[in-house]
Symmetry: C3
Subunit: 338 residues, 3 copies
């Protein structure tokens, strides 16, 4: 993978300052780039590294174009330009096209001839794999499920029956889609299973990280909107609905029937209890627990700040007395007044 | 899947009010049901929907029988009746019975002839799969392990050696049972592995969600009691014991050698540290951390309430001063007294 | 598996008191051991069990040698001796050596002839499996990836392309290594993917539990040092670096580009936000969230203590007023002074 700066500037639709014929064959940060590599300056706290970088070219904002000691590709949003140029240097193995002889495909499944089905894949009855989709080694596509055009399912993914995945999605390894929601009725102390007869519907351009779990609906479908990005080890319970372009970092737990709006961001380890609604533009900081619906866009948090354990122990003990402390303050105020 | 109301009432042992020959072919909530579907009223906050639902029949408590505009199936516990009737409408693909030609089964394994072994399953030496058990595509049953009668193991499940799973259990995709407990001795700064030579014993009617991990015991077995229900992404460490009919929501982390009683409920994301005992009937709210044994049944919690991040920052900073605040209150009280 | 006490004492380089020809065929705790089994006393709170144990021999510290009613193997660190002797009683099935006929191995991959490749394994182009390595059933080794000598990869593990795993490592089932880091640039409300072109480099003697996820680097590699021990369901984001001999209990979430020093311990469910540095010898208690770099070795915590839910509700409500309480204390102090 090697490109001239002219090719890169052309691909980005960006202005180039420097030798257009110069060839770059890799991407790196300013601090680690070597000669022959392309870098970028997106975060101004690294601005001084422009002077010392060994990169052959740097993607910069127009304001920094004159500070470059090397060739400059000038973009109004250098981070976005970096994202776009990263596609050129992607190391993901290309799909080979076709069906590996070890794959087990039901005669009633429909696999487009442009799709790639890797080794040991299992495709069950009436499943559909659309044009240019790629199913990675060891993955299972359940009965009646559908993988949309251009979607890439990585290795050892488990997709149950009646799951619909849209176009141009990426599903990472170990993820499970369509497992039973956690539904039981209690009969004299024993749990009676509620069969989960809904499915899962996932939109287009959705990315789901590794080892996530997305449960099927109890009656209607669990729904993930277009452009949603989920990091690793996220749990989406039955009948959750997630709005378009919402992003969640690793380890989030979303309980049943909760509706999360569009353009939300949940940091790592956030929990949201069941049957809530979070409005569009809700942001939640790391490891917070959301127990009430949120109707106003903005940032929300719970938890406490980290301390050395010895100090923390004192605070934690005192916190258990806070109701008493509050009453004593009230008494003091009364005494003073009197 | 279509049933007359007479068939459904008969299956439930419930009284029917309305046209016994009416056919329903699906289950839905009151709000989304269409003509030809059956619904239920379990939560009285939805009672008004009885007037507007399009369902052809509704499962109701005797008190609501007269409020139904459509046919009524009358049950003393409508939610339990819904759970039971959901079995009739289950969409889970039926086991085909027999062994898929791509399965790899050790000649020393014993697979009952009524069992179903799906594509690419691996069954190792001396493993046993009992009557009517179903092993899903890509799952591995390790050496000497046993899957009880009527148990369904979904796709890509990994079961190590010396694991015993009881009858009528459900194990969802991506779950790992019998991986090594986390045991090391420290020798001059390096960790020396303690081989985990115990196994895992799982009772009957246990359901384990997707991508759970249940470690084998260090010396004796990790034990999961009858009727336990585990949601997705739950971690059970070595030598944990879980009593009968206890249920845990997604993301719970149970540390080593802890004993959890029977009929407990742990909400999502609860952590329990090691070597504790939680008595029967313990309930823990979402994302709480249990660091002490619990000897009295009831509900327990830790954590803080959610606030807008700006307010939360102030509270979190003040909380670090709470010990100082408490001392100042004491001083004030002394001053007032003097 | 049966050994004379002479063999065990010799293996440990420990002194023996008692019948050297006595045979033990199992390991157990003092409380559960039966005749014919070996036990150990590492935790002095179990010292009284020396008098009642049915074990045939016990590993003890020199100080307890005279308290043994049975044969004694005398070691200065009985817990370490137990760890070492546990290797003798390991129940892990031995590698069979060779390649199972159902394995799918690229003609360009290099698999050492002493390696074991189990059923349904997939080894992709240019991957390397070194001497005596074992790849468990259903695992996938991606393009250009390398599994070092003596490393054991359990069942259904997914290793992407360009991942290097060192020697004598253990990777448990369901773990994913090399999935894409969570990197996106936002363009007018939509997320544009940043291709993750770095790899993952894992040192020697590393153990990684079940269902962990370790993302590949964005530009340079994610790095796990020698002797690191990770429990189950741990998430390591892109470009994280973990120093040698650090251990993490289950469910830890480490966000992108964070550097964790060597000889650290993170208890279960700890979160660490991105771009931090934790110095060597940092310890963090269960379910704490680390949001700032740590420069001084020691133990750190966040969170609150558990209470009965009714009390907790009061404390949580009061905590939201703590800033107001602090101001009222200040006012009271001013009043008193006046």
């Amino acid at each position: 993978m090697a490109y001239t700066l002219a090719e890169i500037a052309d691909y980005l639709g960006a202005e180039l300052k420097g030798d257009a014929s110069l060839v770059v064959s890799g991407l790196a940060t300013l601090a680690t780039a070597k000669s022959g590599q392309l870098s970028f300056l997106a975060n101004m706290s690294y601005k001084d590294q422009l002077l010392s970088t060994q990169a052959s070219a740097v993607i910069v904002h127009p304001n920094q174009a004159d500070d470059c000691q090397c060739a400059a590709i000038i973009a109004s949003n250098p981070y976005l330009a970096y994202a776009n140029v990263s596609q050129l240097f992607d190391t993901l193995p290309k799909a080979f096209g076709g069906i590996h002889p070890s794959a087990q495909i039901s005669p009633t499944a429909k696999v487009d001839q442009s799709a790639t089905i890797a080794a040991n894949v299992v495709i069950e009855d009436h499943a559909v794999v659309a044009q240019h989709a790629v199913i990675g080694s060891g993955s299972v596509i359940g009965q009646n499920s559908r993988v949309g055009a251009g979607t890439r399912v990585h290795q050892n993914v488990s997709i149950y029956h009646d799951v619909t995945i849209g176009e141009s999605c990426i599903i990472h390894s170990g993820t499970v889609i369509g497992s039973d929601g956690f539904g039981f009725a209690n009969e004299a102390g024993k749990w009676v299973k509620i069969c989960q007869i809904g499915g899962v519907v996932i939109g287009n351009q959705v990315e789901i990280g590794a080892n996530c779990t997305i449960d099927r609906g109890a009656l209607s479908d669990t729904q993930i909107g277009d452009g949603v990005k989920l990091d690793n080890q996220i749990q989406i319970a039955h009948n959750v609905e997630i709005g378009a372009h919402t992003a969640m970092a690793a380890g989030c737990l979303i309980a049943g029937s909760t509706k999360i709006g569009s353009a939300c961001t949940l940091a790592g380890g956030v929990g949201v209890t069941g049957h809530l609604e979070l409005c569009d533009g809700t942001h939640v900081t790391a490891m917070s627990l959301v127990t009430k619906s949120i109707t106003k866009p903005g940032s929300y948090s719970s938890g406490t700040a980290m301390s050395p354990t010895a100090e923390w122990r004192k605070s934690a003990a005192r916190l258990r007395q806070i109701d008493d402390l509050a009453k004593r303050i009230k008494n003091l105020e009364k005494s003073i007044k009197e």
